[in-house]
């Protein structure tokens, strides 16, 4: 089967700033495909090219077989797009917004209802409320309903969970999983590494370039060095000691913990504990760990150990 979204050497620059540098990838039909990367990585530019809002400087794209530059009018009937910023009419009610977007696509709420039922049912009790008066989670559900009401073949969601609480985020990903079961191709971007595991495949993006495309498991497994988790109250001191260790590949701060990767094939936790104790940090707890996507991302982003870089 032909791929649902194909990008070939897509390129876009704003002045001397390269927003997107020759990016290529393919998304299979029915796939839940995630772009993971920090703010400013080029995710939004990429999405805006794919949904026909921005013309690329170079390269080609196909979305559901259509060229976003030349066949944008046909394409716009077939895709759903939810921009990162809430983009519905705050002064129209929930129902008016949904009805508006349904009618400009030449359909009705009723015709698209079975697809959005599960999502819209949660905000339907507030159908007469102005969209501007909804909570963040409800706004997001309304936006998703509006992007889906015309039964798009491909759905683009640009950072849909940014600024949404943890419970709503989990609910949102559950909804995406169910939509995927309906056969809709979903392309989503997120700055949160933990959300990457909910995708079928993930592309790591940084400074306009892809650092790798694979399943979340394969990406995590690609971390080929031994990884240790270090817990100590004196994190900054420990980080400095670890980074200056001769066998250190990298050392990063991960929330409460430090993640330490060694350049050798094996490393004993006791060895690192001794190293820290020798440097005046005696109470560190060191244990082996399995690398996650975030470890891979940090590793690929900075190459080898980068003592000067921010933790």
């Amino acid at each position: 089967m032909a791929a649902s979204v194909v990008a070939t050497e897509l390129h876009k620059a704003y002045g001397s700033t390269v927003a997107l540098g020759r990016v290529s990838f393919a998304v299979e039909p029915g796939e839940l495909f995630g772009f993971v990367g920090p703010d400013g990585a080029g995710k939004t530019t990429l999405f805006r090219i794919l949904v026909s809002l921005v013309v690329p400087d170079g390269g080609e794209a196909r979305v559901d077989g259509l060229d976003p530059v030349r066949q944008y009018r046909e394409l716009r009937r077939r895709l759903g797009y939810m921009p990162g910023r809430f983009s519905l009419y705050q002064d129209l009610s929930v129902e008016e917004n949904l009805r508006f977007f349904a009618t400009i696509f030449g359909t009705t709420i009723e015709a698209g209802y079975d697809l959005i039922r599960e999502i819209y049912a949660q905000i339907e009790p507030f159908r007469d409320r102005r969209a501007g008066a909804l909570s963040g989670g409800m706004k997001q559900k309304l936006a998703l309903s509006c992007a889906l009401v015309h039964r798009p073949k491909v759905l683009f969601l640009d950072e849909p969970t940014t600024g949404v609480d943890a419970v709503s985020r989990r609910e949102f990903w559950d909804m995406l999983s169910r939509l995927r079961a309906e056969g809709i191709t979903i392309v989503v971007s997120t700055p949160y590494m933990d959300e990457a595991t909910r995708c079928d495949r993930v592309a790591l993006i940084q400074e306009g370039s892809l650092l790798g495309v694979d399943t979340p498991a394969a990406i995590a497994a690609s971390f080929d060095r031994p990884l240790l988790v270090v817990r100590t109250p004196r994190r900054l001191d420990a980080l400095r000691v670890l980074r200056s260790y001769e066998h250190a590949r990298s050392a990063w701060s991960f929330g409460e913990d430090l993640h330490y990767a060694d350049t050798r094939d094996r490393v004993e936790p006791a060895e690192i504990a001794r190293l820290l104790a020798g440097a005046g940090i005696p109470d560190a707890v060191v244990r082996p760990a399995t690398a996650g996507i975030e470890d891979v991302f940090m590793d690929r982003m900075h190459g080898t150990a980068a003592p000067g870089a921010a933790a």
């Binding site: 026909s52 921005v54 983009s87 002064d91 696509f105």
Partner: protein, 388 residues
């Protein structure tokens, strides 16, 4: 067409739901018309005069009586000398010095020419000019009055306090010739009759330019344009739906204003209202195009407001509403030929006050049509360029 219908429905819903918008649409015009029409007048009444009467004669008293009776002058002080009178002028206790020198009446009777001196504070040059004109009128009428007694000519001799227009002395009409001014189309020289049609143009202009530019920019500012642009809505559908409501609202506003003009200000309406509305429709296309153009070069409603304000101030100041175009320097008069507001004010006055038909304002109508065509083309092209 169906899409435009849906979009229009949405626009009207938003406009009438906007709590800030309704007062602007229907309160502001009413208030502006009421305040401006009553406040904006070129009349200067009750000018305070310092009288230095060194003659104390019959003619001098007659002159002062007539000046006060005109309603334009009040004798505020009678200083003993010109020096003291100058002090009054300096400390703003009076605005004008009237000096009747000794032997004024004797000179008038014997030599036929008496001289009086008027000194004006001309900080506000326009007002000083008006006061001077009033004084001339009174002097001229006194001249006529005393003609029966003796062959008279009172030659006023003007000196500006700060800056009086040069060459303002006037020779009174020779005996036997009477000048009877008659003001056609506005016989009572009623300022409201003259101002109200112009103010109505301002109202319609504000709605056409300010509100339309802000409304288009708002979609950009709030980000909704991002969502709209990935729908099958065509650009021209979007533009028609954005601009048509304000075109209609402005015409309704004009009707509302005309009713007020008739009922409150008794402005004569001699010409065809159908013609007036037809031309207003064309004029509004010009202003809407301007609003659209402003919206393409701005990102937020605030920026749009500033640019619209900048353009509007120039258009309005140079429209002939507050200052006659005839009194502007040549280069400024040439510029007003590019000012659509000036054309439409002219049309309003001619049609309402003079009963002009299409043939009488055909040049103005053609100019507006040309502006509309050029500006709309440019604005729409610019809009296409700035949005992907």
């Amino acid at each position: 067409m169906r899409t435009i219908g849906i979009l229009l429905q949405k626009e009207f819903r938003q406009i009438f739901r906007n709590r800030g918008m309704l007062p602007i649409l229907f309160g502001m015009p009413f208030i502006q018309l009421m305040i401006l029409a009553f406040a904006v007048t070129y009349e200067v009444r009750d000018t305070r005069v310092s009288l230095v009467d060194d003659d104390r004669s019959y003619v001098a008293r007659l002159l002062v009586d007539r000046m006060e009776a005109s309603g334009y002058f009040v004798v505020a002080s009678r200083p003993a000398s010109l020096a003291l009178a100058a002090e009054d002028l300096h400390y703003a206790r009076s605005r004008m010095i009237l000096h009747v020198p000794r032997h004024f009446e004797r000179d008038l009777r014997t030599g036929g020419t008496g001289r009086i001196q008027i000194t004006l504070n001309a900080e506000d040059g326009a007002a000083a000019g008006v006061i001077q004109a009033y004084a001339m009128q009174v002097i001229a009428s006194v001249n006529r009055e005393i003609q029966a007694d003796f062959v008279p000519v009172a030659l006023p001799d003007f000196h500006g306090g700060l800056d009086v227009p040069a060459g303002s002395g006037t020779v009174a009409p020779a005996a036997g010739i009477r000048l009877v001014p008659r003001h056609w189309y506005n016989p009572a020289l009623d300022y409201q009759t003259f101002m109200v049609p112009g103010i109505l143009v301002l109202l319609v202009t504000m709605i056409g330019t300010f509100l339309s530019s802000m409304n288009v920019v708002r979609e950009k500012e709030i980000g909704t344009i991002e969502q709209l642009n990935v729908t099958p809505i065509r650009k021209h559908e979007f533009l028609v739906a954005k601009l048509l409501p304000f075109w209609l609202i402005a015409l309704v506003e004009l009707a509302f204003g005309l009713v007020l003009a008739k009922v409150v200000f008794s402005v004569p309406m001699l010409g065809s209202l159908v013609l007036l509305f037809a031309l207003a429709g064309v004029y509004l296309l010009v202003m809407l195009a301007l609003g659209l153009w402003i919206s393409t070069i701005t990102e937020t409603q605030q920026q749009a407001m500033f640019v619209a304000w900048f353009v509007m101030v120039i258009f309005i100041m140079m429209s002939g509403l507050f200052t006659p175009i005839d009194s502007m320097p040549d280069w400024a008069q040439a510029l007003t030929r590019l000012n659509p507001v000036a054309y439409f004010i002219e049309i309003m006055r001619r049609v309402l006050l003079k009963g002009a038909g299409l043939a009488d304002v055909r040049f103005h109508a053609l100019a507006l049509a040309a502006f509309a065509t050029v500006l709309l083309t440019l604005a729409v092209r610019q809009y296409h360029k700035t949005t992907a």
